[in-house]
């Protein structure tokens, strides 16, 4: 595991954030709380914090070796799902109290279904932690509100079952304060003028530590952070989940990523995390426009365009995982809407297995667009 962070070393806060990002779910945070795995966007982490647990995201890990389950994972399953399943069956998450999967995040549902079936068939190690499906529906009708409230009760039962406390108004309000501090710090991060690559690393580092620790580290790091040279081009990044600093570096040869609206960008932490009551948390989470399954269906594209426009982007880069089957439906309409607003749009297409080839192709496409 990576070294635990220490708030006494504020000068090195940025390094600690980088280290946490690099270590991913193996990062050892300051507070020794029971760790609860989270797979996918769309789960309000505040609810685990309110139960006295530490939410730790598991979808950004790296694969060291495959397990038997790999033989039933089709090649079109998202890479993060395949890596997770292999790691789970290799015992890499045995230290977790439980794992929560966000149903409305595509790879998370498949990861949950394949993992539970492997367990049911008796093929998984006995040490696989308890698994829970967070079935929140991303719609706002009275019927859905009632349904989502039931899901919260089921979650609380699960949290109790794995040895945490049942969240209540008081613990939710307490956790909300930490989340609010984190949100303020993230706002400062966005305004700080750091590179998009740095913002991405420092933001995502928070997926592996408590909101309080994240807020403290961000605040300390921002006090020391160097601003990037103010290049003329303001870039928006959209499409499939991307957390590759090397890719960001390639994109930022042309300007600065000022709007990172992909699932591993600024859409996390999701709305609702800083609310003070359960009802508000659920309502805000259900209305999260960054969820591709949100209804009304137009909310997703509208929110994306709004984010890009508000950030005054001049160029939007769209990149896709080779397994994309959802975001691709948005591309023609997005391209035409953005171009009609005078924002250049480059579809970089599918990422390739070899990063160098993909980066060279991406650079050529961006250069061609900018040179046109």
């Amino acid at each position: 595991m990576a070294h635990a962070s220490s708030l006494q070393s504020t000068g090195a806060a940025g390094t600690l954030l980088d280290r946490a990002f690099e270590a991913r779910d193996r990062y050892e945070p300051v507070a020794p709380l029971p760790r609860v795995g989270i797979f996918g966007n769309g789960f309000p982490e505040i609810l685990v914090a309110a139960a006295g647990g530490l939410p730790v995201h598991l979808s950004m890990g790296r694969l060291s070796s495959t397990a038997d389950i790999d033989e039933v994972v089709e090649p079109f399953v998202d890479e993060e799902g395949r890596i997770f399943l292999n790691r789970l069956m290799n015992g890499e998450f045995d230290d977790l109290a439980g794992i929560i999967f966000a149903r409305d995040d595509a790879p998370a549902l498949i990861a949950y279904q394949y993992a539970t079936e492997w367990v049911r068939q008796g093929r998984a190690p006995k040490t696989v932690p308890p698994l829970f499906l967070w079935n929140l529906v991303h719609t706002q009708t009275p019927a859905v509100e009632r349904f989502n409230a039931v899901q919260a009760e089921k979650l609380f039962d699960f949290l109790e079952r794995i040895g945490l406390r049942r969240p209540d108004d008081e613990t939710i309000a307490e956790a909300s304060a930490a989340e609010s501090r984190r949100r303020e710090a993230l706002k400062r991060l966005e305004a700080a003028g750091v590179s998009g690559a740095t913002a991405m690393r420092w933001r995502n580092a928070g997926r592996f530590m408590s909101a309080a620790e994240h807020a403290d580290l961000l605040n300390a790091a921002l006090a020391d952070a160097e601003k990037v040279e103010n290049k003329s081009l303001r870039i928006g990044l959209i499409g499939s989940p991307l957390a590759s600093p090397a890719s960001y570096d390639v994109f930022e040869r042309y300007g600065t990523i000022v709007c990172d609206w992909q699932p591993w960008g600024a859409v996390w932490p999701g709305p609702g995390n800083d609310k003070t009551t359960l009802a508000d948390i659920l309502r805000a989470a259900a209305a999260d426009p960054s969820c591709p399954r949100v209804s009304p269906t137009t909310a997703f594209r509208q929110a994306l365009i709004e984010a890009v426009v508000n950030a005054q982007c001049e160029l939007v880069l769209c990149q896709l995982a080779p397994t994309d089957d959802t975001f691709g439906w948005e591309i023609p309409a997005l391209a035409s809407e953005l171009e009609s607003r005078g924002i250049a749009f480059v579809n970089l297409g599918f990422r390739e297995p070899d990063p160098e080839t993909w980066h060279a192709r991406a650079a050529a496409l961006i250069s061609a667009k900018l040179g046109a």
Binding site: A106, E117, L133, F147, F350
Partner: protein, 425 residues
Amino acid sequence: MTSTYVPLESTKIATSHQRAWAKSLQQQITSGAKYAFVNADTPHELFHHMGLPIVTNQWWSAIIAAKQLSEYYFDYMETLGFHDRLARYSSLPLIAELEGDRERQPWGGLPKPSILCARQSADDHQKIFSLWAEKTGAPLFLFSTPAVPDPHPDWWRMGRSDWETLYGRDRLDLMVEEFKELIAQLEELTGRPFDHEGFASYMEAINEQERIYEDVSEILATAPRSPIRISEQIPNAMIPQWHRGSEWALSHARHFRDELHERVKAGTAVVEEERIRMMWIGAGLWFDTSFYSAFEESHGAVFAWSMYLPFAADGYIREMKGDPLRALAARVSAMNEQLHQPPWINAWMVEQAKKYRIDVALLLIPEHDRFSGHGSLFAKKALEEAGVRVIEVWSDMVDQRQWNREEMTARVSTVLDAVLAEKGV
């Protein structure tokens, strides 16, 4: 080896009924009658009962594919900027709509629907239907689709009466509430009130129809040799399914069952010396249905199973328990998922393979229709462990660009040769 195959009278009746129905539907909607454009896994029952004609996305997709238009539209899809790994079966009608040349389309194209309806079972359904709504201006009704967190493998048994346990009270509550929202919209659209009493009788009629299909499945599974091709099973199951609960559908189901029964009693078989029994797993290969009889002559191998017929009973019979809307929710709330998600798909495939005495399974894996492709390798593993040989078919149900008949015939033949050798034939 193959006797001269005589098609069933039922098939003629079903297809001519469908032709007449399609013609009348075409006349109705092209002359301005209101209609709904809906996905296959939505509650058609509500539209039927309200007397609002429907065009089903996947049915329309198959019609377009059968007219050999899919290649043209999928090439066109890429010129619009959609990438080539997006779903095809569910999107072919949308692409035809976006292309806009109505003369090219069957029926001279579809007019604007009065309502669009889909379930959010697959992540892309709402995207596809949303684009339809944007293009046509038709209102879109989407059913929420939370997953079943603790799926019992033997859904086809529990689904009949213990559906509250199987699908979950919270999910059923939600679906019933959403039914009520849709019913209100349909009442407004049609100007008619929803007749709850009549709906109960209608649901009973559907259960009755599907129980007849249960008998049919039993006849097919236990017949010493397969009496009909799956290319006949499919229309005789699916056409009445599109009209489920109607007098015609019930009467056709009975006629089909009786004709089949007679055929088995008379010892009629697709292949005189049936040596190998196969199952086709997945949606139909709509652009090359003659493939289903390709191995009868060469290997005495017959496709004895396709999902459409046994699913009529297993997927549709839902005891009413005095609450027809809730029973309908039980039918619809995981309809498609049962065919594609573990443990449901693997458990059902093994049960059906055993029941139908299957030697070889051809497993359609549409990699660019991920919802339909997921769970495939679980099914493969389970079948192999049950002693069934499995051939993976990486193709698509409506996109023939990925289909190489010659190559597939060669691959299947190699496996069938091995099976015959094992059997000492």
